[in-house]
């Protein structure tokens, strides 16, 4: 609880301090707020994948599919059917959650490495569908999405940079999900998740409904990823098939593992670290004057080294059964 309060205060301070006209613009510039928003969005995604890959131990490489799906649902509803933002936002989460059922269904039959590639395959198929359909705008995506409004006020008209409301909503979602996950962890469902994670056969023998809990984890994860996707595309006012792609999924899974599976604080650490690091490196690159962006090369190397030194992640705990 204390961690959450300090975290929110810091986020809110960064968001609103320039509204008070105290500091020079460039310290908490619009760019900083952009990074903050993206970090928070990835925190929600990482948390939601942590339910699937951490809590119940089903490694999924298709999580960006829910993120992108939520984005496309919301984009199409507001742009093609001229629906208002808030119902589209909710519907984006619900549709993503519904798609979570068929996407989670293979997990009932397929285990371990096979599940990884099946979820990966699902994500890729979604991407090819988005590229090839006319309604989704093909490879170029959909530009010019509406900016949401609250009580008649457009988000962009509130605050200095117009990003403040987005940040606050994303912060609320992240905190809500974090507390919700704490609750799950201590509930009957959470114990069932843990049992399935540690030994599926033993859990089934003890009367835990494996199929139901696996699907439940996928559905919860997908719902929050869908909501994030919706808010994210309206923030950018643009969506493209890249959002669904495997690179995003790999990044989210990496955030979970680097932060530490099962650790809620770890998910925030992973998401913030892996969002801020590449931005920082890009800044460094401009100072040093490199002609290329070294981030992805370094990122790969860091992952290999990290898994060697601390395979359970920064804040992760070693489970009893090392698998």
């Amino acid at each position: 609880m204390r961690k959450a309060v300090i975290f929110s205060l810091v986020v809110l301070a960064v968001t609103f301090i320039d509204s008070l006209d105290l500091t020079a613009d460039y310290i908490f510039s619009s760019y900083m707020k952009h990074i903050l928003f993206v970090s928070l969005a990835y925190s929600v995604l990482t948390l939601s994948l942590n339910i699937v890959s951490g809590f119940i131990g089903q490694v999924s490489l298709g999580h960006a599919a829910f993120f992108g799906l939520g984005g496309y649902v919301s984009a199409l509803l507001t742009q093609v059917y001229h629906a208002p933002f808030w119902p589209s936002f909710l519907l984006a989460g619900i549709i993503a959650a519904l798609v979570g059922i068929p996407l989670g269904a293979p997990a009932l039959r397929i285990r371990g490495p096979f599940l990884v590639v099946v979820t990966y395959g699902f994500g890729e198929v979604f991407k090819y569908i988005a590229i090839n359909l006319d309604i989704t705008g093909g490879p170029a995506g959909l530009p010019g999405l509406i900016t949401p409004s609250i009580a008649g006020l457009s988000f962009s008209s509130i605050g200095v940079s117009g990003k403040e409301v987005f940040i606050v909503i994303m912060l609320i979602m992240a905190l809500f999900l974090a507390f919700y996950m704490r609750q799950i962890g201590e509930s009957r469902v959470g114990h069932a998740f843990a049992a399935i994670r540690e030994d599926e056969i033993a859990a089934a023998a003890m009367g835990v409904n494996v199929a139901y809990h696996k699907l439940l984890a996928f559905v919860i994860g997908a719902f929050f990823a869908g909501l994030t996707g919706s808010l994210f595309v309206h923030y950018l006012s643009f969506i493209s098939p890249d959002m669904l792609g495997s690179n995003e999924s790999i990044m989210i899974l990496t955030m979970v593992v680097v932060g530490g599976t099962l650790s809620i604080t770890g998910s925030f650490v992973g998401a913030f670290l892996l969002t801020i690091l590449p931005e920082g490196l890009r800044y460094l690159k401009d100072i040093v004057g490199l002609s290329y962006d070294p981030w992805l090369v370094l990122f790969g190397l860091l992952l290999v080294i990290m898994m060697r030194v601390k395979p359970q992640g920064i804040l992760g705990v070693d489970t009893i059964f090392r698998r």
């Binding site: 569908i129 090369v297 790969g300 190397l301 290999v304």
Partner: protein, 294 residues
Amino acid sequence: MLLLQQIINGLALGGIYSLIAIGWTVVFGIVGLINWTHGEVFMIGAFVGYFLITSFKVSFFVALFGAMIAGGLTAYLLNHFAYRSLRTGPKLALFITALGASTFLRNLAALLWEPHSRAYPPTLDFSVQTFTFGGSALTVNTLQIFIFAVTLFIMAFLQWFITRTMMGKAMLAASQDLEVVSLMGVEVDGLINITFWVSGILGGAAGVLVGVLYAINPYMGALAGLKGWAVAVLGGVGSISGAMVAGLLLGVAENISSSYISSGYRDAIAFVIMIITLIVKPTGLMGFKFEEKV
């Protein structure tokens, strides 16, 4: 007739898929690792072949041989530096290591060799032959036939290696139970090194063969590696002969689907086939059943 034409067009690419898939399947069967870097080994093979041909003006077969050695060496080094120490660790850490190594190699290649596409210079004589068959025309590119023949030769050699040599037999046994094989006096580390060499050699060869047919670029490994995995799953993971048949099937299926459905979905076919296989028949065409032990 169009169907027959598409089948002929698909065979050369299918043979290459088989080579990539065998590289996947031997490593997974023995080490149990999703070898995410296999696509990068394949890409490195393609580039080594390219530089051998353009800078050193060697013949096609020398370039193929050089690329096979380079591929094998890359796979061996990857095992040595990245995977070896984690083999008994958590599976997720091993997988993330593979993802990291793959990202590292792919982007390093893009950095060193620039991310644009290149085409192999014409090293082989080939011609396009037209046959009339039952009243309609069939065009056959001799280059494709040649590629297909090379892949068949490599696969025949591999089959001989696996079934006739002691080393190959040990690999075959290890893919069923590594622990028991080690109890029988086989040195496990050496066996795993050889497995990575074999996998890399096949990947490197596939890289050169793709390079002769299509353009190459540093990012080519991502999709090719995954298609290799899809083929390995369709054939039955751990089964070499299954991977051979499944590769040809996928090559043909891709060509047929792009002419009958839509070429935009061409690359998605592999994943659809893989998902359906895993849900309907997880053991694939020729795989053996993995019994889960309590």
